[in-house]
């Protein structure tokens, strides 16, 4: 899993430590995605932007670029107050997170 190796090297941490951080990230992000959907249902663009920003930052820190890009787009739409199409972005984000979760499971 190259992403694990790359992140561990850039962060100066053991791969096992980074693996634990990524699992931690997956767990929290699933909760964040639930909150994103709640924000969408309530039409709360600011909450959507804030949650998108939070996921983006954490994903960037773990060098998870696909997830960071999806979260950045959600943040951008939220800041613009334009929530159209955000549901699809959230679904895409969720798929990315699930894929990561599967790969982490394979890593042990």
């Amino acid at each position: 899993m190259n992403v694990l190796e790359d992140a561990a090297r850039s962060l100066g941490l053991d791969q096992d430590e980074v693996l634990d951080f990524m699992k931690d990230f997956v767990e929290h992000t699933r909760g964040d995605i639930e909150n994103l959907r709640l924000g969408l249902q309530g039409g709360d663009a600011a909450a959507v932007a804030e949650k998108g920003h939070s996921i983006k930052g954490a994903a960037l820190n773990l060098y998870l670029s696909d997830i960071a890009s999806a979260a950045a787009e959600i943040e951008k739409r939220g800041k613009q107050g334009n929530l159209g199409g955000v549901e699809a972005l959230v679904t895409s984000l969720e798929q990315n997170v699930n894929e990561l979760a599967s790969r982490l499971t394979d890593q042990g």
Partner: protein, 380 residues
């Protein structure tokens, strides 16, 4: 200083990012982590961090608000605060630096960037703390020197029906060892001394104190000003550093005969103003600097005084004071002499006060770079 002695507070709302950053730092530093701006304030007050890493966008109190409160109420202006920011967020980075952050670290965190920036800012902070501590110690020592200097000055003069002493003394903002004294050497003979110690600070104050101790001892042993200063010179020349010295004027007046015997050791020449014709004579006889050369001779001279005669002693802090907006033009002896002459009929206390006011007016300030000392001896 890069060691676990340095304490870092990090504030990051995302739990994974917070734990990740703490893991990157804790190998070299003690780390306390806050999940919000509010918690960051609480932990900063509790742990007194040496450096703060602050995420900008946090729910509730954001990084900018937290920084303002941290600076104002908790960590003061010098503890380095580094903002954590997304790479593309240039606007927040600029705003953060303007608000008082010293730097920023962009996400994703890079081990080397983080390590170097944290290490450098901690080193700067440590250096700044050392400078502040040194400044504090210096200020303390200067205050001690000022106290020592003040302690050299007499609380009162010995009573004499024939002699009146009026003094003004304005210590400079920097402590020194300059002082004056009036002593009854033996019954009926009043000695007066004015001393200017080279330099400023603790060293000069100690030299001034050394002189005073020697003077009080030797002045009682003999009534020759030149003899006293020669003995003090021999004592001090071995004790004080090569570059330090004193200028001294020491005179003794016999209250019965009104004879003044004096020795001037490279001090500005006092003005003796005769009561009759108002003529001013400069009292020059004496010798060289005290404490500079061993075995040098000191001469003395005796002059007869008359009631109404006045002697004005002054330090070079008076004559070498620079003019307002033109430091190269000094107050000078001629201006001092002219003013002294013009105030011939003036009450003694008012004479020295008038000179001081004129000096303040000339220099445009009421505190001086060097001690300003004036002593007027009036024969009653």
């Amino acid at each position: 200083m890069e060691s676990s002695e340095s304490k870092i507070l990090l504030a990051e709302d995302h739990p994974t990012s917070r734990k990740l950053l703490a893991a990157m730092l804790k190998r070299n530093y003690a780390v306390v982590a806050a999940a919000s701006g509010t918690e960051a304030l609480e932990l900063a007050a509790e742990h007194k961090p040496d450096l703060v890493l602050l995420d900008i966008m946090m729910p509730g109190m954001d990084g900018f608000q937290a920084l303002e409160k941290l600076r104002a109420d908790i960590i003061g202006p010098t503890v380095p605060v580094i903002f954590l920011t997304a790479r593309e967020d240039t606007e927040s980075r600029e705003k953060g630096l303007e608000a008082g952050a010293v730097d920023y670290i962009t996400k994703p965190y890079d081990r080397q960037e983080l390590a170097i920036k944290v290490k450098n800012h901690l080193a700067l902070y440590e250096a700044q703390k050392k400078i502040e501590e040194n400044n504090r110690i210096m200020a303390q020592e200067m205050e001690m020197a000022s106290q020592l200097q003040r302690s050299l000055l007499p609380q009162e003069f010995p009573h004499s029906d024939r002699l009146n002493f009026s003094v003004v003394y304005k210590p400079s903002s920097r402590a020194s060892g300059d002082f004056y004294d009036v002593v009854e050497v033996v019954p009926g003979r009043i000695g007066f001394v004015q001393v200017d110690v080279s330099g400023h600070g603790v060293r000069s104050a100690i030299i001034g104190a050394m002189f005073k101790m020697a003077f009080q001892s030797f002045a009682k042993e003999q009534i020759s000003p030149a003899g006293v200063l020669a003995k003090i010179n021999e004592e001090m020349v071995d004790l004080i550093p090569d570059m330090d010295f004193l200028t001294v004027f020491y005179g003794i007046v016999d209250a019965e005969t009104l004879e003044l015997t004096f020795c001037n050791a490279a001090h500005p020449r006092p003005f003796l103003q005769r009561n009759g014709d108002g003529q001013i004579v400069e009292l020059a006889a004496g010798g060289t600097l005290i404490g500079a050369f061993p075995g040098v001779p000191f001469d003395e001279e005796t002059v007869s005084l008359q009631p109404g005669d006045r002697i004005l002693l002054y330090t070079d802090g008076v004559t070498e004071s620079g003019k307002r907006n033109d430091k190269s033009t000094m107050y000078g002896e001629e201006r001092l002499k002219r003013l002294f002459r013009e105030r011939r009929g003036t009450e003694p206390g008012a004479v020295v006060e008038t000179i001081l006011r004129d000096l303040e007016s000339f220099s445009g300030k009421d505190t001086f770079d060097d001690d300003v000392s004036l002593m007027l001896v009036t024969i009653e």
